[in-house]
């Protein structure tokens, strides 16, 4: 050892690990924006359909039947629904995969010291992943409850059936009865209503993400887009969130 010893910690070289992220984060964010926008449009149309509840059982079930016979005989029974299920399913897988990948990459790129002292507004971004997990659970519960009719579904659940009368397809849908039966259970109605708040939070922050991921830089475009998504989020929360409560309290029965 030389007389001059190395001073504490000095002479060490700085190493910076390369992240080499593929596919690009920009690509992942675009995937999230595109699939997310598809979901928002779907959920909005779905909500408009839900509002037919106010027209009564007959109209509501007729709408359910219409969705199953749409474009018949060019599309088979439930053809439209299966096209939608496929498109939404693929979107869901992409959205979840991209979202979790981004989350994991973000933790890694930040390193071991997490950020503290953020402004309150940043919470909207922070809880996107948690909201995403809740929404995933919601989708499963919702499908079991009112589409598949297993597990968490009410005991009165009845699947739609169809018969051919000559050239005509006649559908016996029970969507209205199924829904009323399900939402008459207080915990289920509360679950749906609460999750609509989560949906609204996710759409609001997601919309703001989307316009940035799509590369919208014009100030007016950004403002209009944000307001539009906030409005959509609000409308969905109020309309969809109210329905289970109205059923629970017997306004719709």
């Amino acid at each position: 050892m030389s007389v001059i010893e190395k001073a504490r910690g000095q002479g060490d070289t700085v190493v910076r690990p390369k992240l080499n992220q593929h596919p690009s984060n920009v690509t992942l964010k675009l995937i999230m924006a595109a699939t997310g926008t598809i979901f928002v449009l779907f959920v909005f149309v779905h909500m408009v359909g839900n509002l037919k509840l106010f027209l009564g059982a007959e109209d509501y079930n007729a709408y359910a039947a219409f969705l199953r016979t749409f474009l018949f005989p060019f599309l088979p029974y439930e053809g439209l629904l299966w096209v939608m299920r496929l498109a939404l399913g693929v979107s869901l897988i992409l959205h979840v995969w991209a979202g979790l990948t981004i989350h994991a990459r973000g933790r890694k790129a930040r390193g071991k010291f997490s950020r503290k002292g953020m402004k309150k507004k940043a919470w909207f971004a922070k809880y996107m992943v948690v909201e995403g997990v809740l929404l995933f659970v919601f989708i499963i519960v919702h499908l079991l409850d009112l589409t598949i009719g297993r597990g968490v579904a009410s005991s009165e659940f009845e699947e739609a059936t169809y018969e051919m009368v000559g050239n005509q397809m006649v559908v016996h849908a029970h969507a209205y009865e199924n829904l009323v039966a399900s939402f008459s259970r207080p915990w289920m109605a509360a679950f749906y209503t609460l999750l609509m708040v989560v949906v609204a939070l996710h759409i609001g922050q997601g919309g703001w993400n989307a316009i940035n991921d799509f590369g919208g830089t014009g100030p007016r475009l950004r403002k209009i887009w944000l307001i539009a998504f906030l409005l959509i989020a609000l409308i969905i929360m109020v309309c969809n969130g109210a329905l289970p409560m109205l059923v629970l309290f017997g306004v719709i029965s």
Binding site: Q10, P17, S24, H103, K108, R115
Partner: protein, 252 residues
């Protein structure tokens, strides 16, 4: 005023870091955060200790050298202000300061509060510059550029390269910095020429060194140059534009 400081000490890149607590009995509220550290260093040296290492140069908000986390916030409690311009009088309610180096995997600590920001240099080397033969200086009006565009380019050119945006980001992203470069150069006659190639190189360098953007918006709060969050959309826009323009377009 009396202040308590918990300051990160780290002897070198590989050394373990720890917080060291100092109480300063008498600090002028007129001091900036850096001047407060200067005074503390005087006291430490007088007592025979090792002074705290931190970077600074201009002390007037133009060089981008200074910066550390103060109670978790890059540069200090004030928004859009570099550490050298944050004076104790502006936040008299804060008397306990936790001071750490900018935190991000892309910014390894060299010593105490000094960090290595070479990852940002790599972005500039990859795509934050223009390659043009300048020759002799052209006459002033041969390449016309309207006033508004020039001002908009300037709004993004004023990034001082401090790295606060990266330290502010819970994801360790450098989108604000990269977007400022792309937005600035895309608006200039010299920069326009390599617009697509620049966007591609910038994004691939971002993917090498920095995390993804989740739009927390914290970067724009911390940025001492006041770069707007629109810079984030610019990165995405420039990258997708380069796809639409194709790899072999004349402009490249």
């Amino acid at each position: 005023m009396k202040v308590t400081l918990d300051i990160w000490r780290q002897d070198g890149p590989d050394a373990e870091g720890y917080f060291e607590t100092h109480v300063m009995e008498d600090v002028e509220p007129e001091l900036s955060l850096l001047e407060m550290l200067d005074q503390l260093n005087d006291e430490i040296v007088e007592a025979g200790g090792e002074p705290i290492v931190f970077e600074s140069d201009c002390r007037e908000g133009v060089c981008g050298c200074c910066g550390f986390l103060v109670n978790g916030k890059p540069h200090g409690p004030l928004a859009n202000t570099p550490a050298c311009r944050q004076h104790l009088r502006s936040f008299p309610e804060v008397t306990h300061f936790t001071i750490e180096p900018f935190r991000s995997a892309a910014f390894p600590v060299i010593r105490d509060l000094a960090i290595d920001r070479a990852a940002l240099d790599e972005l500039v080397e990859a795509a934050g510059h223009v390659n043009v033969m300048t020759g002799t200086a052209p006459d002033a009006d041969t390449v016309p550029q309207d006033h508004l565009t020039a001002e908009q380019a300037m709004d993004y050119a004023i990034c001082i390269g401090c790295g606060a945006c990266v330290a502010a980001c819970p994801n360790g992203a450098a989108m604000l910095f990269a977007g400022a470069k792309l937005a600035h150069l895309a608006k200039m006659p010299q920069g326009k020429q390599e617009r697509s190639r620049r966007a591609r190189k910038m994004v691939s360098m971002l993917d090498e060194n920095f995390g993804p953007c989740s739009l927390y918006g914290e970067c724009a709060v911390s940025c001492p140059a006041g770069i707007s969050l629109t810079a984030i959309a610019t990165v995405n826009k420039e990258r997708w534009r380069s796809v639409l323009r194709g790899r072999h377009s004349r402009e490249t």
